[in-house]
Symmetry: C2
Subunit: 373 residues, 2 copies
């Protein structure tokens, strides 16, 4: 990353601000050049030079090729998503972030383009994802040490391979590492339409775990409920439907949930707490409402609830690389078998501005945006 | 308890409402009677017939003697405290409570008066406390199975033997069972002048654990600070002194606390959270401000804080009777050695009304009230 930064600061490299009012990306068409086998192709990258609003500080930058070192793998990117955490990194409000100037993006999938002389596990044409995920996936070519690439099966659509780490792995880890759940147990979550939320529903289902899902009141709520139930949700309630209710009476035959997931905060988090059984645990992994979590004293003392957080970054820091890679493979296996799906929209790289606007919520509720290079 | 209830409902037994404006208790002086060795003496008891305000629903009741069963131990009570949870039980707002009519009180110390034919571990004159603690200690004689009495050393003042379970045991368990603390570590707590708070300071001190203490702003605050420092507090701050501060800058040489105790809620709980180090735990065991605990999303996700509760009752339910008794002995040993002390006021039983008013906060800030029978 350091090398990249120094490179893109040199004035000789093309640095273009996105023209935000057009959908076509003002990429300068590069003359075809012949690269030495040990130099990567130049890369077109979405770079932010300072922290700020992503649609104001992001620029398209052409980064020249670099010499491949012995253990480097050069990857031609195929697809990379715009996750909320990517936006927070550009805004400078995410605790783990590169110092600008930096290339945006944190996960994605690509095809091996060339390899250094010491690389034996990867061949040109292989599909790979960065693992552990790392900054800089919003560009056409990336070069990294072979240790931080993970080969994936080509049998899944690129948009799934591109998005399998940040959200589905979070969902899987939260279900498996917080408390021990058995078939027949139940979980409750808010923000159930989020990508993690959709994954939680399906991953729970594969283990015979029931899910109670809380969503915002919104237009077309019946359709949303139907979609989540198609994914395997046992119950879906809007926040208004739960207001003032004895939520336990709504459980039907489902056991009281031992585990709750909160990515909203405020009143929505309180509803997760209400559903939890004696001694239950609520795990906070997001705060979409920007409101804090409020908990009564009796919830702690008499109901014995525990509250904690989950952040993939902390788990990644615990150095469980092999375990993480096995989980990624498991998740992609579920995708291949049609047991894990979520809503996404593939957008061509030269429509990056539109995808960014959608990811920023400027165009209403939109599916996850995945850039196709 | 059932037997007691049926007895006190019989109209032939004396049932007198406390005359709340006098300090002398209208107990009918009983004629001296000769009891068979297998019948306990009649008992004067503070009984509440229904849930409500303690000074309105409490009555003095004379309960006739009962026949001692084989394994019963009859105890002449010496002292029993008025704890906040005793008041909450009478009010009907405490989750574990006897159904009224019931005798008040939950812990205390007494002297063995007589024993059933099968009792070999206790002799008249022994000092005993109910363990596990149980309802009904506000009376002059109690009869219970030998299994629920615990013999204590007579070398401590009765007010300490009477109060060693509910508060000091809570403090000891919170310090020992929540997370592993080592000498040189630190804890932070609010409500530091409470009985649990005073115990936490001293028990931490005996293990080389530093304590950071938060207290309410109040008249005579310097004297309170001095008193807590005399007990072993490393730092004492009022809530106002912490407002808007970077609390970490106030730690001096003390390490960031890994564990926090909250018995207040609201802003005071937020201050405990602020002091905690990355990955720290806050344990809530009370809510004196009647305000909930409010936690930001980033505290959970990025600061990795965990929040839980502690309630002695739940620990007692885990069936660790022997461990609990050993801990009680350890605590009384510390009292004997002058390493554990806290402010109390011994009040004669016939001034129960005054003690109750003080415990209810009607007479300003008062030390813990302990009834002397």
């Amino acid at each position: 990353m350091k090398m990249l930064r120094s490179l893109i600061l040199k004035p000789s490299y093309l640095l273009l601000k996105f023209n935000h009012n057009t959908t076509s990306l003002p990429i300068r068409v590069l003359n075809m050049q012949t690269f030495s086998s040990v130099v990567s192709p130049p890369s077109n990258a979405v770079v932010y030079e300072a922290h700020g609003q992503p649609d104001e500080v992001s620029k398209l930058v052409n980064i020249p090729g670099k010499e491949l070192k012995e253990n480097d793998v050069c990857v031609k990117m195929l697809a990379a998503p715009i996750n909320p955490s990517d936006i927070n990194r550009i805004q400078g409000v995410y605790p783990v972030r590169p110092e600008p100037p930096a290339v945006g993006g944190y996960e994605g999938v690509g095809e091996v383009y060339s390899v250094g002389s010491g690389v034996t596990s990867f061949s040109p044409g292989d599909w790979v994802i960065p693992y552990p995920p790392s900054s800089g996936t919003w560009q056409t070519y990336i070069m990294k040490d072979q240790n931080v690439w993970h080969k994936v099966n080509k049998g899944v659509p690129i948009e799934y391979a591109a998005t399998i780490t940040v959200n589905p792995l979070t969902a899987l880890l939260m279900l498996e590492e917080c408390i021990t759940l058995n078939s027949g147990d139940a979980i409750v979550q808010n923000g159930a339409t989020s990508m993690v939320g959709q994954c939680v529903i399906q991953l729970a289902k594969t283990r015979g775990i029931h899910s109670i899902n809380i969503i915002r009141d919104r237009p077309g709520v019946d359709e949303v409920k139907e979609r989540l139930k198609d994914l395997g949700a046992d119950e879906v309630f809007t926040e208004n439907e739960l207001e003032g209710k004895n939520v336990k009476s709504l459980l039907g035959g489902i056991s009281e949930p031992a585990l709750g997931f909160n990515c909203v905060g405020g009143n929505s988090a309180s509803m997760v707490l209400k559903f939890l059984r004696q001694g239950g645990t609520m795990v906070t992994y997001g705060g979409m409402s920007k409101k804090p979590v409020t908990v009564s004293t009796s919830s702690f003392i008499f109901k014995e609830l525990s509250l904690r957080g989950f952040w993939l970054q902390n788990w990644l820091n615990t150095d469980k690389a092999e375990e993480g890679r096995r989980m990624i493979d498991r998740l992609l296996g579920l995708v291949k078998d049609g047991k894990l799906k979520y809503k996404m929209e593939l957008t061509p790289f030269n429509d990056f501005n539109t995808a960014l606007d959608k990811a920023l919520g400027k165009l209403g509720s939109q599916p996850k945006q995945v850039i196709k290079f």
